[in-house]
């Protein structure tokens, strides 16, 4: 048995044990990224997207824009700027590639990917700046904020070399109108559950309406166990369709450093 086979078996055992835990319990999907998305007006002002970097040995920014001509830069809290043509000189790794739906995994996001890799990054607030190309002449005004001649969709995924993890779950495979669902956010790191964080959830209904919710970890109401790092809230869908949930968590890790993580998931109500 070679090393790969051992790992394969170990992974299988992990999956099996995970499946065994499934039962009626919600199954969490772990997000290793901090992710955010903006719709950037073409030809408009430079968009600034704030990213909070907590202590990490390495951090990787994957900035993807549906506008291949968008100009992307990264500003660090120590005052340095990193641009595609100057990153190497500044000791920052940079690569770019075009994603496509048939390419699997993260690269399925069909846009131009800009990847910055920073070793021993400064801790604090970073700003991703995006200047989208000018709009194409004749672009319709008032278009929806979708990737188009008028808007560029920009996604930022930030991968941290540390063990802080955000995981999300819903207590049902699919929902039904009027029946409350539990939305759960779990925050953990190698040392254990992360408590005393703030979990903000935003649910966007199929009709576009948004609802802000707060996850609680105090053992009250829908939260089962206080202080287990699982933040829970209840939501009752009012119409059928696809719902989008954004979970934003901020708090302090075991070292006392502030962190912020955001991820999303969708669910469908019949």
């Amino acid at each position: 048995m070679n090393a790969r086979t051992r790992v394969l078996i170990a992974a299988a055992i992990g999956l099996l044990s995970n499946a065994a835990r499934t039962g009626a319990q919600p199954v969490f999907d772990t997000h290793v990224y901090h992710q955010t998305v903006r719709a950037v007006l073409r030809g408009g002002p430079v968009e600034k997207i704030e990213i909070l970097v907590d202590p990490s040995s390495v951090v990787v920014f994957d900035i993807t824009s549906t506008d291949a001509g968008a100009v992307v830069q990264l500003a660090a809290p120590d005052g340095r700027f990193f641009a595609p043509d100057s990153a190497a000189a500044a000791g920052v790794g940079y690569a770019t590639f075009a994603g496509g739906a048939e390419r699997g995994s993260l690269a399925s996001f069909a846009g131009q990917h800009h990847v910055f890799t920073l070793r021993a990054p400064a801790v604090g607030r970073y700003f991703v700046t995006v200047a989208a190309s000018p709009p194409v002449a004749g672009a319709p005004s008032g278009a929806a904020r979708s990737p188009s001649d008028k808007y560029a969709l920009v996604g930022v995924s930030v991968l941290f070399a540390n063990t802080l993890r955000l995981a999300t779950a819903i207590d049902k495979a699919s929902g039904a109108v009027g029946q409350p669902l539990q939305l759960l956010v779990r925050v953990s790191e190698e040392a254990g559950a992360v408590t005393h964080a703030r979990a903000h959830l935003t649910v966007r209904s199929p009709n576009g309406a948004g609802q802000a919710l707060t996850g609680r970890d105090d053992g009250a109401d829908v939260d089962v166990v206080a202080g287990d790092g699982v933040y829970t809230c209840s939501f009752a869908p009012a119409e059928p369709g696809e719902y989008a949930v954004t979970a934003l968590v901020d708090g302090f890790d075991v070292t006392g450093a502030r962190f912020r993580r955001q991820a999303g998931f969708t669910f469908v109500v019949d």
């Binding site: 070679n2 790992v7 998305v37 940079y94």
Partner: protein, 695 residues
């Protein structure tokens, strides 16, 4: 009953159990059991619904005994032709009534309709080989339907009775081992003859052929509705000619309608070398004539104009003649366009030239009851695409053609279909779409069974189809290619992006087009776990055989995709190896991190993988200065090997699995390139020869 079946019993309710060979069976719908007897009169088979129709046999069921798993037997005297079974019921005993004496009753055929197909398949061979020449004579006794299969028990258990009889007999219930123990004598109402019969020597009197067999996608029949010959035919009345229409497409055709690649198909075992033609004929007098100057009867048989032999038989008796016809002489239908309905039948003509040894005289006559033509051929393969292939004009199943997957199938002249088109969405929705589309595919080929080969999420869609939908099309096998049976963390990333984009107002249709489609949320590890919890129990015991193919994209074992052969198909941009390696590294990192996050145990493996990922993510130094760890979670840059093999549970149902690694390694896209299908075909062939149309 349509005049053909002596008994027709409708079963309803739910029942399940395990066959003697260990196959779990169940039915939860209405099933119909039909049974037919021939009657021997003076040693001749006498069937009421053939040829002259001068008699009608009615074997009626008066009493049922239902046996439960604990051996308890309950009696039902209504005899209304229907029974409702409980879940613990194991079998049904039918007691048939008879009214005439002096006849021997020959069990002729059995048909099970609906509900319990897997049981029939399991029992079919033991049953049909039961007794001499596939029949069992009844000189008194019961008709027994045990565990869903029909069993005939005469005065005593005959030699060679299948073992499946024993548990039932020994388990108690109505005594079945001797005629004297039968609680109600079984009787046959039988009327023979008519006023016109006695005076017409050419009427077949009480002589009847065996009934025409049922038609299927591998057996085609002429003379089912009415006999080919209305009476015994002399030479002056012209040849006896009839047509057997074949409605199954088997392969590419030559201009004359025969197969272009018959030799290759036969050599590969995908097609029987001959077509078996069965023709029951009456009164073939091949012996001494007793009349000077008269020759024995010679009736020449031609198939599509070519002689295949002469009839054999006996005076005043029916004899089934069997001819093996070179399959290369047989005309088959062409394949209709997609949506064009079933194939237009290819007509094969059979001609019997009567009494050719006595030209100009009407010395001998003969008659033909029916004709059947049967052959064995491989069922077509339905190719099911993966997630999102419906978006962006990617051509649905045509990706199998464009990428080259079908090249292997073309070279072997195997039949396949790429018309399935699934709108992106839930797995259950994909299953429902398959349930509505696959019967149409089967109709187009003229078959009632298919194989499915499904890529990526299509494999889960197919599992949902098999678990939750019942159609008239049997799915013999499902082979999944890189299917995320346990989900993929890549989907978690993309589904998260979709949710975030929606919250800033981007519409779902736009996101579908840029690779952030709504199908992703159903193949995350969490969603897959929920799917498995409901799907796996429903797949257990399915007739379909499952096969899985997984791939490791890293062909040289360094955990990078720096070789062109490793990243080709995934990427076609600059710095391809870097980007592909990033994908390859990302999956194990996330997978290990997921386990780390879930268990809160040691995360060292995840951290090691993370360090490797970081190296790869510094493309200025690509390939990285130090090798990535070899003990890595292999993947195809989209789905891990463990997930593709279904190690979370589905693997237990798989008959076989294949890992493409090392020099044979593939990425998620190149799983659809040439060379993969050729490794799958032996699975399909074995399945066909054991449970499919090549049995």
């Amino acid at each position: 009953m349509g005049g053909q079946w002596n008994a027709e019993i409708t079963l309803s309710g739910a029942s399940n159990g395990t066959s003697p060979s260990g196959v779990a069976w169940s039915f939860a719908e209405t099933a119909t059991i039909r049974v037919r007897f021939d009657v021997l009169v003076d040693g001749q088979v006498d069937t009421p619904d053939r040829i002259s129709r001068t008699g009608v046999a009615t074997l009626s069921v008066s009493t049922y005994f239902v046996r439960s798993v604990n051996g308890t037997v309950t009696r039902h005297d209504a005899g209304a032709g229907s029974l409702t079974l409980a879940s613990e019921d194991q079998g049904v005993v039918l007691v048939m009534e008879r009214t005439a004496e002096g006849c021997t009753y020959v069990f002729s055929s059995l048909q099970l309709v609906g509900g319990i197909r897997n049981v029939l398949d399991d029992y079919e061979y033991p049953f049909w080989t039961f007794g001499p020449v596939g029949r069992h004579e009844l000189s008194g006794g019961h008709v027994y339907f045990g565990s869903g299969a029909a069993i005939i028990i005469g005065g005593s258990l005959p030699p060679g009775a299948p073992d499946l009889l024993q548990p039932i007999v020994e388990g108690g219930g109505p005594v079945l081992t001797s005629a004297g123990d039968i609680p109600i004598p079984w009787q046959v109402a039988w009327r023979v003859g008519g006023p016109d019969v006695e005076n017409d020597s050419r009427v077949l009197r009480t002589q009847y052929s065996s009934p025409a067999p049922d038609a299927s996608d591998r057996q085609f029949v002429a003379g089912r509705e009415r006999p080919v010959s209305a009476a015994c035919t002399f030479a002056s009345e012209g040849p006896i000619a009839f047509e057997i229409p074949i409605t199954r497409h088997v392969g590419e055709l030559k201009e004359d309608g025969t197969l272009r690649h018959a030799d290759e198909l036969i050599h590969a075992g995908f097609l029987s070398p001959t077509l078996t033609l069965l023709v029951p004929v009456y009164d073939v007098d091949g012996g001494p004539t007793g009349s000077p100057g008269r020759s024995p009867e010679v009736d020449r048989v031609l198939f599509n104009g070519e002689e295949i032999g002469t009839l054999t038989g006996a005076n005043d008796a029916w004899t089934v003649n069997r001819f093996e016809v070179d399959i290369r002489r047989v005309r088959f239908p062409s394949l209709p366009d997609v949506g064009g309905g079933p194939p237009t039948a290819a007509i094969n003509t059979i001609e019997v030239r009567v009494d050719t040894a006595n030209p100009g005289t009407d010395t001998w006559c003969t008659a033909v009851a029916w004709g059947s033509a049967s052959f064995k051929a491989m069922s077509p393969i339905v190719l099911v695409h993966g997630n999102g292939a419906a978006e962006g004009n990617r051509g649905y199943g045509r990706q199998f053609i464009n990428a080259g997957f079908t090249k292997d199938l073309d070279e072997q002249h195997l039949l396949y279909d790429t018309s399935v088109a699934l709108q992106t969405g839930t797995i259950e929705g994909g299953g429902a779409q398959l349930a509505s589309q696959i019967p149409g595919v089967a109709t187009r080929f003229g078959v009632d069974s298919v194989h499915i080969v499904a890529h990526s999420k299509g494999g889960l869609d197919a599992r949902a189809f098999l678990a939750g939908h019942r159609t008239d099309t049997a799915v013999l096998s499902l082979t999944t290619l890189g299917a995320p049976h346990d989900g993929t963390v890549g989907a978690t990333l993309l589904a998260s992006y979709r949710a975030l984009a929606m919250t800033v107002g981007v519409d779902g249709e736009t996101l579908d087009r840029i690779g952030l489609n709504k199908g992703l949320q159903y193949v995350t590890p969490g969603a897959a776990a929920q799917f498995n919890a409901s799907n796996l129990p429903r797949l257990s015991g399915a007739l379909t055989r499952f096969f899985t193919v997984a791939a490791d994209a890293d062909q040289n074992g360094n955990a990078l995709l720096e070789l062109a052969s490793e990243w080709e198909s995934l990427r076609d941009e600059v710095r391809l190896s870097f980007a592909a390696s990033l994908l390859y590294q990302l999956l194990p990192f996330v997978e290990l991190s997921r386990q780390c996050g879930a268990s809160l145990a040691s995360c060292s493996a995840a951290l090691e993988a993370e360090a490797c990922l970081m190296d790869v993510a510094s493309p200025s130094a690509f390939p990285p200065p130090r090798p990535c760890p070899s003990d890595f979670v292999p993947n195809d840059a989209t789905v891990s090997v463990a997930s593709s093999l279904g190690m979370g549970g589905f693997h237990a149902l798989a008959h076989a699995q294949r890992l493409l690694n090392g020099p044979r390694g593939r990425n998620h896209a190149s799983l659809l390139e040439p060379g993969v299908a050729s490794g799958i075909v032996p699975w399909l062939l074995t399945t066909e020869t054991e449970i499919g149309d090549l049995r």
